[in-house]
Symmetry: C2
Subunit: 412 residues, 2 copies
């Protein structure tokens, strides 16, 4: 029978073998005393198994306060497996099994889901991203370089007309992708429908004229009926994308939206810091992105090199690489780089990932360019041209005037 | 204009005033440089406001590793407010605003959402729990004492017939409530429909005979169409409750299910440890339960006194009390006590909460009672009778023989 494998980075005040056994027990048979009916055959078929233990270092203070233990806490990598028979092809049930009560087990003073492996048969049950990298490239007509994108700022407060006016400027500057901020769905002075009307009018007119249809990811994060209604509105208006705050909306409703397959879905991971920021609590991105690829997200946020947030470059690179790696031979997903990006990060991003299959987004980095948004978009295109050529920032600033002005404005 | 208020417990390497201003900026206007269109009027209307700062202690090591600061980290309570105009009556958008990118801000080495206050107008937009405490009591016919409940164990592996046989024993013992384990939705040898058929046959037959319909919360956590189908199956079979793993299913799909209003929904918070276990990361229960009450959960897990998990009794008591406090004058929700409960915790639970508006659940505590499940249920009823009378465990063990055997078996 096929099995699902999960790797955890753990810290425990007890013997690692014992802690791993408690985890496996809690997440399969799950009680603190033996009960009638818990036969050996039943255990053999449905019990989670400890597959591997790799003991690492010991520390004298727990990573997370617990009630147990004193003075010595062992860290380890632990692999646990479950039969697919336990929960079948049900992603929320898989999440409850791999990321459920186990975080509360007192035998752990730290526990993080690092990665997971799902069996081949998942291919028959999860169609995955409807567009992914290739489909999203096709919708935008951008090949052989990253899609260059931006976020409407200020996040909340612009009227539909003001937003459309900004969209017009950005389109004329050559942008490939624009998105609502995650804070905006439908505000008092920017009703969703009005915003779609105003923006798609500009996008469609430009597309009719030039053949280039800019992708705008409208934020539809909401209750499910509203999401469907807003999705319909985008489709009816000729739009090509929608955005979901996947953590806020949640897995079941997001999958329902993904499964419609008419729009490329931009998965925003806001709230991610809560799930990931502690080194010994929560989930790492390689595991997280697999769940969302199976569900069907086409584009997913990975932060960016030298971002304005807390995350290290190594972690961002690891996230991008996890998206590049095929899942069950496919399930292509486009990594979205964002947060404090202005083009200066392009050389390092390319050097470390060797890919242009990216959506590279800058907010202030485009809108606050000394030459205005037009200069901002050109500077980003130049940055990626130079990055792929292997140039460094100083060399690029010499060759490309708009990029040079970015350096003057944004380089620290 | 009405505002939404959120209180955070934070730790920062910079001045608290500055960190709070960054939080407010990031979660309303949200970029790192000023941009055209960000007028003063727009800021005044849509900017988040720092309402209150209460500086607490300082520490020399950050709670969570960050890239900024060295040697001194200040802890504080900070209150931030947003105009309802920013996102209207959209819970996922509210979550993205109150719990979105802010966890990633480098100016924080710790950030936890402690509580939130929503405006009166929310009453007109969120109907909240369809059953709550009174409705769930009515469905079960249990008044003036806690509902006594149990979880089917082993979690995964019993056939529908084996489960139904256990349900029969529990019903005959006088149980009020039974639930699937959160790990089980539809397993290889316990298909959802078959399980409902087998169990509801027993429940309905007993109800016809005695007038007491035991509430069984079938776990429907799944993709949304499957949840609807399984919900229908429960309703059609005469069931009165369903269970959702709310973190795994997510807010938008859960609300859709809550809104159907035909079943009392048992909200299981598995995965909660990931969101809460670190003292300076995530969300505290008083904030969490408000979001789920607004969405419409009828019953919600709060762990239990002297539980088998890591949580302190003080924290559990705070959670129970937060559920007891009316939200906007209503939105009644039934706290579910679970995890290592066997009746011995009843006196302390009652002493500290002074309520019997609880669903008090024991798994092994009932099923592994020396006299079998019958003795287990009786012992729990005795425990609560004694607790309300103000007796202690030793006194109760003298008076009540079944409870006395629980003490022998389970007391540590």
């Amino acid at each position: 029978m096929e099995r699902i494998y999960a790797t955890y980075y753990i810290e425990t005040p007890v013997a690692v073998e014992k802690a791993a056994a408690v985890l496996a027990g809690e997440q399969s048979s799950g009680t603190f005393v033996s009960v009638p009916g818990e036969t050996d055959e039943l255990k053999e078929r449905f019990a989670a198994k400890v597959e591997r233990i790799e003991i690492l270092d010991s520390v004298s203070e727990p990573a997370i306060p617990g009630l147990m233990g004193k003075g010595q806490y062992t860290r380890a990598n632990v692999e646990i497996s479950w039969s697919i028979e336990n929960f079948g092809y049900n992603l929320p049930a898989m999440v409850s099994t791999l990321q459920g009560n186990l975080y509360e087990i007192t035998q752990f003073t730290g526990l993080k889901l690092m990665d997971l492996e799902v069996p081949e048969s998942f291919k028959q049950h999860f169609k995955g991203p409807s567009f992914g990298v290739e489909g999203t490239r096709k919708l935008t007509g951008v090949y052989d370089r990253p899609l260059i994108g931006t976020i409407i700022k200020p996040s909340v407060g612009l009227s539909p007309e003001q937003t459309a006016s900004l969209v017009k400027t950005l389109i004329e500057a050559g942008i490939d992708f624009i998105k609502d901020d995650e804070l905006l769905v439908s505000s008092a002075n920017s009703k969703f429908e009005n915003r779609v009307d105003a923006i798609m009018d500009i996008i469609n007119r430009y597309a009719d004229k030039t053949g280039k249809k800019v992708m705008y990811a409208f934020n539809i994060s909401d209750e499910i009926d509203n999401m469907h209604r807003h999705y319909d509105k985008i489709v009816d208006s000729g739009g090509t994308a929608a955005m979901l705050s996947i953590n806020s909306v949640g897995l079941s409703a997001a999958k329902k939206i993904f499964d419609r397959g008419q729009l490329s879905i931009h998965a925003h991971r806001n709230g991610w810091g809560m799930l990931n920021r502690h080194p010994l609590l929560g989930i790492e991105f390689p595991a997280y992105q697999k769940i969302w690829r199976l569900a069907g997200a086409d584009q997913i946020h990975v932060n960016g090199i030298q971002n304005k947030f807390w995350e290290t470059d190594d972690s961002v690179v690891k996230s991008i690489k996890s998206c590049q790696k095929p899942l069950l031979g496919g399930y292509s997903i486009l990594p979205v780089l964002s947060s404090g990006q202005w083009g200066g990060q392009a050389p390092e991003t390319y050097r470390r990932t060797q890919t242009t299959d990216l959506l590279y987004m800058a907010g202030g980095g485009i809108l606050a360019h000394p030459d205005g948004p037009t200069g901002g978009v050109i500077a980003l295109q130049q940055a990626w041209e130079g990055a792929v050529k292997g140039l460094n920032i100083a060399e690029m600033a010499q060759i490309y005037p708009e990029f040079g002005k970015s350096v003057e404005k944004f380089a620290k």
